[in-house]
């Protein structure tokens, strides 16, 4: 039996006979942990959740929860017997009941050790004003939160959330993320969250699974996914850096025609002389007005705490560089922008 609280082992996920994601191996190590599934639209993230919930069957591999097989090619425990809650992205409230009745339908008949309180959930999700309303009388964001409340109050062994905050206002989203994480951790509710928002995944998840090209490309903790992506596909999906051609010149150096010598610790060994593609993220380079390496500014994006400058090298490569917005001098488009030399990176990720 599995040592993990929840585990998907060698499963192919399909819907309507069409295979969506192959050979999936992911797990939740201990009760109360959260994993996030990240990937582009239509890749099969929702199919994975539906299958875990028991709404779809599998014909290869197995899914176990609390040491019990819930899905395999031979076993299929019905959804109503799994004690798994799924909060759908679409409105799934019962249309003829009020919001309160909808949420209370999720309440456990016998109190469990998790002891989730109705009032607490309502307060956290800010649903007090809509309790007496019917689903058609509330906004998409409110119905999504009500659905989330119903799932939480059912005190499931495993909670599945499909884009739980996609319709929630931005101003309110971060507060809910904080409260949601707090309650999930406090009540030890193991959760799988599907999202396309990498920041949401990095904040909420103990681990993230990146689903690209019909497979799980990387399953790791958020820091590693961001800083040590294991494939070019992951780099491209996260869209937080560029790949520069470079040549390995020593145990901790490589050289690029435009930027010169770059130093740092390789996370993987490459023989000297190897031609590689170096991952350069916006925070890797430092700005220095006095540097002799001056590149032309072609774009500047204001991101609140940072400006992201896009610089053009001599060989027409575009490099992103983050600069704190309180930096006294702003650089306009077509102006020169200095890069501090020698370039020293925390870690060197190459492909």
């Amino acid at each position: 039996m599995s040592k993990n609280f929840f585990e998907i082992k060698d499963v192919n996920f399909a819907i309507g006979g069409k295979e969506k994601v192959k050979n999936v191996n992911i797990y939740i190590e201990k009760e109360g942990d959260i994993i996030c599934l990240l990937g582009p639209s239509g890749i099969g993230k929702t199919t994975i959740l539906r299958t875990i919930a028991g709404l779809e069957k599998i014909n290869k591999g197995q899914i176990t929860l609390k040491d019990k097989i819930i899905s395999s090619d031979k076993i299929h425990i019905e959804p109503e017997k799994r004690n798994i809650a799924l909060s759908f992205q679409e409105n799934s409230l019962f249309p003829h009941y009020t919001v309160e009745k909808n949420i209370r339908l999720g309440e456990k008949k016998i109190s469990s050790d998790k002891n989730i309180n109705f009032k607490d959930i309502i307060n956290i999700l800010n649903l007090n004003n809509v309790l007496n309303k019917y689903p058609h009388q509330i906004s998409a964001g409110e119905s999504q939160r009500a659905s989330l409340a119903r799932s939480l109050i059912s005190e499931p062994d495993l909670l599945l959330l499909d884009e739980p905050l996609s319709n929630v206002d931005q101003s309110f989203k971060e507060d809910i993320q904080v409260e949601l994480k707090k309650i999930l951790k406090q009540k030890k509710i193991s959760t799988i969250i599907v999202t396309h928002d990498s920041y949401e995944a990095f904040y909420l998840g103990n681990k993230c699974a990146l689903i690209l090209e019909n497979e799980v490309k990387q399953f790791d903790d958020p820091y590693n996914v961001y800083h040590f992506p294991n494939s070019i596909e992951v780099v491209n999906f996260l869209n937080r850096g560029i790949l520069l051609p470079a040549k390995v010149t020593g145990g901790d150096t490589l050289e690029n025609d435009d930027l010169g010598i770059i130093k740092g610790k390789f996370i993987k060994h490459y023989p000297t002389g190897s031609e590689v593609r170096l991952l350069l993220q916006p925070e890797d380079l430092e700005h220095d007005d006095d540097s002799n390496l001056q590149l032309e500014v072609v774009d500047r994006k204001f991101r609140g705490t940072n400006f992201i400058y896009t610089l053009k090298t001599q060989s027409n490569l575009l490099i992103p560089v983050a600069v704190h917005t309180h930096h006294w001098e702003q650089h306009e488009i077509h102006e020169k922008f200095g890069i501090k030399r020698p370039i020293q990176l925390e870690h060197i990720v190459c492909f």
Binding site: R50, A53, G54, L55, E78, P79, E80, K81, R82, N83, I84, A85, L86, F88, E90, N91, S92, L93, F94, P95, H96, L105, G106, S147, R150, S154
Partner: protein
């Protein structure tokens, strides 16, 4: 297919199968031998039957298109005196079946009829008969059927007009269209699928119409089928004629289905819809709009109602001699059990289709709902053919006693054929209610620990309560008005308001037909008034 086998799948399959069997019987009977009547008819009347059916169909379609579309346009776009009243007043035409309209028309315009009496009372004795136009024969049939059926075009076109967003009209104006051009280039084309759907229903009902054309002695394919069975006792030929008529009807059915699918594109999504502002008509225009709508309302409802009421008062002995309580109880009995069975089985079948999500079952359901397109006469005869076949080829071969008496000339047989005839109405009515329940609602229920049965009983049935009530009323309305099935399959001495009216009228006792007709109109009107808010519902209101 077999991995879906469960109680819901099997129930749904079984219900659809029962409905399909008589329909298949019509097709299978096509190649059977017939009596000489077929040869006689083929060489003599078949052309006349077909021609009459086509003339009737074309004329009714033109007439219902004009009055249905214009009245829908007036009440949807303009405000004039009583426009809100006409909005629902015009659907009361459904309370008057074509055959009762035909009796009224004849009663009013015949020699020494009501028109004559009015003129005599106004101007004294005179030879008015030669000046009073006669609406009988083909013209009478066309008028009776049109005023009774235009409501289909009116309701669907009005719904389509209501869903037309103000944005669409503003856009038309922005492009420089106004007045008639706005109507003909923007408003009418965007309601086209609804108009075609309405006309298709009118066409199917017209081809299936029996009471009115039989009363006016017009030989159509439908009366031909009835006569070949009743007069010549030739079941096989009745089936062959049915097959021929079904070809017409299936062509219309396909047309209606295609246009219904397209009609979806004309419903705006929540976000893009902007409520239309009704235009307040000036005095002159308002007067003509009022006159037009009142004329339609008067002709389609007030006229037959008054005529029947007048005769009931004028000849009170007919009221006294009629066993009203008995007829009422028979009608209620038939309506109650048929509607109940229809609702229960349609509900189960719908849920079975929903949870099984199986292509084979979907095809079977689609075929089974074609029952509505098949005229009552054909269904009744197909049912008799099927029972006779079972009885002769299976029951008797096994040496068992005949089952005919349980199904032919019995309440059970009558209810079964009503079930087949109106199954599509109930099935589609409940289906449209089901379409409002997102599939995620079911899945959420399962995840909250509800079984399929509990989801059905605790989530679906309460939610569909209003839809079920509406379907019940619609089906009841149809059964109250229905004539040929009751005529063919009713038990001996079991009469309803409809059959009593028909029998009196066919014996040229129109005064006696007035009383049951009046009761029928009153009951049907009550049903329509109860359900009018559903019939005229507008999601944006």
């Amino acid at each position: 297919m077999f991995r879906h086998l469960n109680i819901w799948f099997l129930s749904s399959f079984f219900i659809s199968f029962i409905v399909i069997v008589p329909i298949l019987t019509v097709f299978s009977s096509f190649f059977e031998n017939t009596s000489n009547y077929f040869e006689i008819l083929k060489n003599t009347f078949l052309f006349e039957y077909t021609l009459n059916s086509l003339i009737l169909l074309t004329s009714v379609l033109i007439f219902t298109f004009i009055i249905g579309t214009v009245s829908a346009y007036l009440v949807s776009f303009y405000e004039f005196p009583f426009s809100n009243f006409f909005k629902w007043g015009l659907i009361l035409s459904f309370a008057v079946p074509p055959y009762i309209y035909a009796y009224s028309l004849t009663a009013f315009f015949e020699n020494y009829g009501t028109a004559y009496t009015i003129l005599k009372n106004l101007f004294g004795e005179g030879s008015y008969n030669k000046y009073i136009p006669k609406f009988d024969g083909m013209l009478g049939s066309i008028i009776s059927i049109s005023f009774s059926l235009f409501g289909y075009v009116y309701i669907l076109t009005r719904a389509s007009f209501l869903y037309q967003s103000q944005n669409l009209i503003d856009l038309g104006k922005n492009l420089g269209f106004s007045g008639f051009r706005l109507f003909s280039s923007i408003i009418l084309p965007s309601a086209r699928p609804a108009i075609v759907a309405g006309l298709s229903l009118v066409a199917m009902e017209t081809l299936a119409e029996f009471g009115a054309v039989d009363f006016f002695s017009i030989n159509t394919l439908t009366t031909g089928i009835y006569n070949s069975w009743i007069a010549f006792d030739d079941l096989a030929f009745a089936n062959q004629l049915s097959f021929f008529l079904l070809l017409f009807i299936f062509a219309l059915f396909i047309l209606e289905n295609i246009s219904r699918k397209n009609a979806k594109y004309h419903f705006n999504s929540r976000g893009g819809f902007k409520r239309k502002k009704k235009i307040l008509l000036n005095k002159y225009a308002a007067f003509w709009a009022l006159i037009f709508c009142f004329f339609i309302f008067f002709m389609s409802f007030l006229f037959p109602l008054s005529q029947m009421l007048y005769w009931t008062i004028k000849f009170p002995e007919n009221l006294l001699s009629l066993n009203v309580t008995g007829l009422f109880l028979n009608t209620v009995y038939l309506v109650f059990f048929s509607s109940l069975i229809l609702i229960i089985f349609s509900l189960i079948s719908n849920y079975g289709n929903r949870v099984s999500n199986n292509k084979f079952l979907n095809i079977l359901s689609t075929l089974s709902i074609s029952g509505y397109a098949i005229p009552g006469v054909i269904l009744a005869i197909a049912f008799i053919t099927f029972v006779a076949w079972i009885d002769e080829d299976i029951i008797k071969t096994l040496g068992l006693s005949s089952i005919k008496k349980f199904f032919i000339g019995s309440i059970l047989g009558l209810i079964l054929v009503y079930f087949i005839r109106f199954y599509s109405l109930a099935f589609n009515g409940i289906k449209s209610g089901y379409e409002k329940i997102n599939i995620y609602v079911d899945e959420s229920a399962y995840l909250l620990g509800y079984s399929k049965r509990k989801t059905f009983m605790n989530i679906h049935v309460p939610f569909l309560r209003n839809s079920l009530l509406f379907v019940g009323i619609l089906v009841s309305l149809e059964i109250i008005r229905e004539l040929p099935i009751a005529l063919i399959l009713r038990p001996f001495n079991f009469e309803t308001f409809a059959t009593t009216a028909y029998i009196s009228a066919s014996e040229d006792l129109l005064e006696a037909a007035a009383v049951p007709s009046l009761f029928l109109i009153i009951i049907a009107t009550l049903f329509i008034m109860i359900s009018s808010k559903y019939i005229l519902r507008d999601n944006h209101e």
